[in-house]
C-alpha cells in the first residue's frame, strides 16, 4: 500500500541511508506540527481559552481527550494552539541567526586579515554568554515577551552558524572555481551569494535545523520562568508555568501534555538536522 503512494524520488530520499525510516517519521511529526499551527482553529476540538471550572484537572477521556488544566481549559486544544508560538519563535531565531551568521561568516572568510580577526573575536565573546542567560538579561531590560528573547537568542546563536560558515567558506574558497570567477572579474558579493553560498547551503541548513530544537527549548524555558510568552496565551512553556501549581496535588497532565509536545518537536528537528548533516558529510 505504502509502496504505491511513495513516488520514486521520495523513496530514494528516505531509503538511501540508515535511519531513513526515523527521518521520515521526524518529517511527519514536523509536518503535523506545522499543520497544527496553521490550522489550529480547525483542528482544535474546543476553544483553547474557554474556562470550565467543573472540568478542572479532568483526566484524559470524555469531553477532554487529553484532559483539562486547573481552569478546566482543554489541554489538547491548548497544545494545538501552542504550536503557533512554539514554532514561530524558534523560526524567528533560526532565520535571523542564519542570515546574521552567513553574513558574518562569509565576510570573515572573504576579507580575512583584520576583518576576520575582529569578527572571530566578537563571535568568541558571544560564545561566553549562554543564550538563555543573554535572553534573561534582555528581559530584565525590556520586560517579558517573545520578541526580545527571539532577537537575543538569534544573536547568541549567530556564532554557531558564523563559525561553521567561515570554516566551510574558507575551505571552499581554496577551490579553483572561485579563483576562476575572480579572474573573470566577478565582484566579491556576487561570487559569495551566487556561487559560494549555494555550495555551502546544505551544511548551514543542517546546523540551523539543529539550532531550531535548541531555540525551542530555550524559549520554552523562558516562558516557564514567566519571562517569555505570557499566560494565559496557549504556549507550551507558559502552559507548564501555569500547570506547576497543580503538581503537588499529583496532577501531572497540564505539564506532561505540553512537555511531551516540546520533547517530540525537539527530537524531530534534531533527527532531521542530524540526518542532513550526515548526508552532507557523506558527499
Amino acid at each position: 500500500m505504502e509502496q504505491l503512494v511513495v513516488r520514486p524520488g521520495l523513496r530514494g530520499l528516505t531509503g538511501r541511508f540508515k535511519g531513513g525510516g526515523l527521518r521520515a517519521a521526524a518529517l511527519v511529526v514536523i509536518a503535523l506540527l506545522v499543520l497544527a499551527a496553521v490550522l489550529a482553529p480547525l483542528m482544535a476540538p474546543a476553544d483553547p481559552d474557554a474556562v470550565d471550572l467543573s472540568a478542572a484537572l479532568a483526566g484524559p477521556g470524555g469531553d477532554h481527550l487529553l484532559g483539562a488544566d486547573a481552569s478546566g481549559r482543554d489541554l489538547l486544544s491548548r497544545v494545538i494552539y501552542g504550536a503557533r508560538t512554539g514554532l514561530l519563535g524558534p523560526l524567528g531565531v533560526v532565520a535571523l541567526s542564519t542570515v546574521l551568521g552567513v553574513a558574518v561568516g562569509l565576510s570573515a572568510a572573504w576579507h580575512g586579515g583584520w576583518v576576520d580577526a575582529a569578527l572571530s573575536r566578537s563571535m568568541e565573546l558571544v560564545f561566553a554568554f549562554p543564550g538563555l542567560l543573554l535572553a534573561i538579561l534582555v528581559v530584565a531590560m525590556y520586560g517579558p515577551g517573545q520578541l526580545g528573547p527571539v532577537i537575543t537568542l538569534a544573536v547568541a546563536y549567530t556564532p554557531f552558524v558564523g563559525r561553521l560558515v567561515r570554516g566551510v567558506a574558507r575551505g571552499e574558497m581554496g577551490r579553483p572555481y572561485i579563483a576562476a570567477y575572480r579572474a573573470l572579474g566577478f565582484g566579491g558579493l556576487t561570487i559569495c551569494l551566487r556561487h559560494l553560498l549555494p555550495n555551502i547551503a546544505p551544511v548551514i541548513l543542517a546546523q540551523s535545523t539543529i539550532n531550531f530544537g535548541y531555540a525551542l527549548l530555550d524559549l520554552a524555558g523562558l516562558a516557564f520562568l514567566g519571562l517569555g510568552v505570557q499566560p494565559p496565551t496557549a504556549d507550551w512553556g507558559a502552559m507548564i508555568n501555569e500547570g506547576q501549581s497543580a503538581v503537588l496535588q499529583g496532577a501531572l497532565g497540564p505539564i506532561l501534555v505540553p512537555g511531551l509536545a516540546i520533547v517530540l518537536s525537539v527530537i524531530a528537528f534534531n533527527i532531521v538536522g542530524e540526518s542532513l548533516a550526515d548526508h552532507v558529510s557523506r558527499r
Binding site: 554568554f129 538563555l132 520554552a220 519571562l227 505539564i255 520533547v263 525537539v266 527530537i267
Partner: protein
C-alpha cells in the same frame, strides 16, 4: 608554560572586560532614564532617585560611571540590591553553597552517566547501541523543568522518597533535598556527553593500535579499559568541563522548579521584580565561570593525554 599562562590570562581578561562593558552598557541601553529604570516599579520619590544617582554616580560622564562600577566589581562590590536593600555580593555569597552543591552533584552524575552509556553503546553495537542513541536523543530533548515535575510527582508526591521543595539544612539533608534537582539538571547534559564519548570511543576502537593489541593476545576488556577508554576519556573530560557553564545557567530552570533558594532562583526572582544590579552581577559571574572552565580544561588536558602540550588546543 609561563608564556602560555600569560597568554591565556590575557585572553580571559579580554573576554571578561568586554563582557563587563556589555553588562554595564545594558543599564544605559535599557529604556528610560537609568535612575528611573533602576527604581522601576518602586516609589520613585525624589530622595530615592537622588540616592540611586549618587550610588551609581549617574550624574558623572558614562566612562567615569563605568570605572566606578568596574572598580567596585573587582573588589567584590556589586552594588546594592534595589529589592532586598542589601549588598548584592552578600545575596550571592549566601546562595553559592547551595548552587555549588547542586552543580557538583549534577556534574558527577553527568560524567558518570555520560561516560558509562557512551562506553556501553560503543562496545555493544546493535540493540544496546540503538537503545542508548534513542535514549540520549530523548534526554537531550527533554527540558529539565518538565523532567523535574515528573520526578516530583513520582518520587515526592507518590512515593514520598524525596522532598519536593527547598534545599535542606546540614550535609545529609541537603544532599537528600538536591538529589531530584541534580537528576533533572544532569539528564540533558548526560545525553550530550553519552553521544560525545560514544563517538570518541568508536574513533579509538578503529585505531591501528587496537588491532595490534588484539594481535598480541591482550584480552578485549583490557584493551577497552586500558587504552580505548583512556583515549576517549580525554575528549569526554574536555567536553564535560565545558558543560559546567551550561549547568550553571540551567540552575535557573531547575531551582525554580524545585523551589531551591540558590543563584538560579535569585536570577529568576530578580528579573521578575526588576532588580537590575543583581541580574548584572549574576550575568558577569556566569561569564567568569565560562572563562574559568575553559582555562581549567586547557590546564588539565596535558594530564589526561601526555601528547597534548599546553596551549595546543585551539
Amino acid at each position: 608554560m609561563a608564556r602560555f599562562l600569560l597568554r591565556r590570562l590575557a585572553g580571559m581578561a579580554a573576554i571578561l572586560g568586554a563582557a563587563s562593558f556589555l553588562v554595564f552598557g545594558a543599564l544605559q541601553l535599557a529604556p528610560g532614564d537609568p535612575a528611573t529604570f533602576l527604581l522601576s516599579g518602586r516609589s520613585a520619590t525624589p530622595e530615592a532617585l537622588a540616592a540611586i544617582r549618587a550610588q551609581y554616580r549617574l550624574d558623572d560622564p558614562v566612562p567615569v560611571q563605568y570605572l566606578h562600577w568596574i572598580g567596585g566589581v573587582i573588589t567584590g562590590d556589586f552594588g546594592r540590591s534595589v529589592q532586598f536593600r542589601t549588598d548584592v555580593g552578600g545575596l550571592i555569597a549566601a546562595r553559592v553553597p547551595v548552587t555549588l552543591t547542586l552543580i557538583g552533584m549534577a556534574f558527577v552524575l553527568t560524567m558518570v552517566l555520560g561516560l558509562a552509556f557512551g562506553v556501553w553503546s560503543a562496545t555493544r553495537p546493535g540493540v544496546v547501541d540503538k537503545a542508548v542513541l534513542v535514549g540520549s536523543s530523548v534526554a537531550v530533548a527533554t527540558p529539565s523543568f518538565v523532567l523535574g515535575f515528573v520526578l516530583i510527582v513520582v518520587f515526592s508526591v507518590n512515593l514520598g522518597w524525596f522532598p519536593s521543595i527547598g534545599a535542606g539544612d546540614g550535609l545529609a539533608d541537603r544532599l537528600h533535598h538536591l538529589t531530584l534537582p541534580a537528576v533533572a539538571l544532569a539528564l540533558t547534559f548526560a545525553g550530550v556527553l553519552a553521544r560525545v564519548s560514544r563517538t570518541a570511543m568508536i574513533e579509538q576502537l578503529g585505531q591501528e593500535y587496537v588491532v595490534v593489541a588484539r594481535g598480541r593476545g591482550v584480552p578485549e576488556p583490557t584493551i577497552v579499559r586500558r587504552h580505548v577508554l583512556r583515549g576517549a576519556m580525554t575528549v569526554t573530560l574536555t567536553y564535560g568541563g565545558l558543560l559546567v557553564p551550561g549547568l550553571l545557567v540551567s540552575t535557573v530552570l531547575v531551582e525554580t522548579t524545585f523551589g531551591v533558594n540558590g543563584l538560579g532562583q535569585l536570577l529568576q526572582y530578580s528579573v521578575t521584580v526588576k532588580d537590575f544590579p543583581v541580574v548584572q552581577a549574576l550575568t558577569l559571574l556566569t561569564v567568569a565561570v565560562f572563562v574559568l572552565a575553559n582555562l581549567v580544561v586547557d590546564l588539565l588536558a596535558p594530564l589526561a593525554d601526555a601528547r597534548v602540550r599546553l596551549g595546543a588546543r585551539t
